[in-house]
């Protein structure tokens, strides 16, 4: 039953991803490994498209992955189930907000979860770097990286520049 599987996979992403938009990526890569609904190459394309479309990137990728797996109904299920844990948890916490804020165990868990979420994303970052980048890609990445050191820019700036460089590199067959 593909729909039930989709629901369970994306519900567990919503429940366990921690640390922002890209925090869903480790889970989506894990799904690519285990469920084989899409390849890591297809996932990389989905992430690229999600970065340049409106909306939180985690929602975009969930919709996309759901669509890829089981059409429009699949995307509806994936989107709903990735957001459902947030909804339930936030509504419950809102009801007991004061206790939540001052609870020592909550603070301690958040204190350990933050570096854990960062570690998970770092593993994805290394994986992306090793598996998907050729030599011209490294040069582009290095250029973007130095641009990011000089001043803080809008994410769309980097995506626009890299799209343009990609287009030009394509003419010279550098994109592999």
């Amino acid at each position: 039953m593909i729909y039930l599987k989709l629901f369970l996979e994306f519900f567990h992403i919503g429940l366990f991803s921690f640390g922002g938009g890209y925090a869903t990526l480790p889970f989506l890569y894990h799904i690519a490994d285990v469920q084989k609904w899409y390849t890591t190459k297809e996932l990389a394309d989905m992430i690229a498209i999600s970065s340049i479309t409106p909306g939180p990137i985690g929602v975009n990728v969930a919709t996309f992955a759901g669509f890829k797996t089981a059409g429009i109904l699949g995307s509806l299920i994936a989107t709903t189930s990735v957001i459902l844990p947030s909804f339930i948890i936030v509504v419950i916490i809102s009801k007991v907000l004061e206790q939540f804020k001052h609870n020592k165990y909550v603070r301690s868990v958040i204190y350990t979860l933050k570096p854990a979420g960062c570690g998970l994303l770092a593993a994805v970052g290394v994986d992306m770097f090793i598996n998907n980048i050729n030599i011209p890609g490294m040069i582009l990445l290095a250029g973007l990286f130095f641009a990011s050191l000089t001043e803080k820019r809008d994410p769309l700036f980097y995506l626009g520049v890299s799209a343009l460089v990609g287009l030009i590199a394509g003419f010279f067959n550098l994109t592999g």
């Binding site: 938009g21 394309d45 909306g55 919709t63 570690g119 994410p155």
Partner: protein
């Protein structure tokens, strides 16, 4: 301005539409919509909800929206905010997903994606850097970072298992502190 469910939905729909390139721009967007234009909440409240949104699992932009929605009109408000912030992402992907299967075969589109893919790698690096600054504050958190990183990168451990592991570590260290504190009081 009146806080009807429709108004809440519409406001977050607008925020969801303007969110591009990752959720990190949500704070200034919410500031202009909720604090300056609508006067629904003040700056301090917004910052608190944003911080809370990072303290619970899930997508930060959505979490923040749900907190604000609940504050405005309880559970129904939370639902209106959830649908509002999610719908633009859903619609735009549905429209694009069908199209993309066709155009992805074009050579110049593939070249653009190649470029954007590398841009995304940079954004992921920048996100890691930001998270590192906020989360790795001492030796202990540094250990947690490398423990989870190695288990994930080298041993391909399921991310959910690692998150559960970290939750247990968090509970355990607080429990240890309580015991030590209790003994020192005796």
């Amino acid at each position: 301005m009146e806080k009807t469910l429709y108004q809440i939905f519409k406001t977050f729909f607008k925020v969801g539409t303007l969110l591009l390139g990752g959720g990190y721009v949500i704070l200034p967007l919410l500031q202009s919509e909720l604090v300056e234009k609508k006067n629904w909440i003040d700056d301090d409240e917004l910052c608190e909800y944003y911080a809370l949104g990072q303290s619970v699992p899930g997508i930060i932009a959505a979490n923040t929206a749900i907190f604000v929605g609940y504050k405005l009109k309880k559970t129904a408000g939370a639902l209106a905010a959830t649908i509002g912030i999610t719908l633009p992402a859903f619609i735009s992907i549905i429209i694009i997903a069908k199209l993309i299967e066709e155009i992805i075969r074009l050579k110049f589109i593939q070249s653009i994606f190649w470029g954007v893919g590398i841009g995304v790698v940079l954004l992921v690096f920048l996100a890691i850097k930001e998270m590192w600054k906020k989360s790795v504050v001492d030796k202990f958190t540094c250990w947690i970072f490398f423990l989870i990183f190695i288990l994930s990168a080298c041993f391909k451990a399921p991310p959910a298992a690692l998150i559960i592991l970290s939750i247990f570590i968090g509970i355990w260290i607080e429990y240890q502190k309580k015991i030590e504190h209790g003994e020192s009081q005796k």
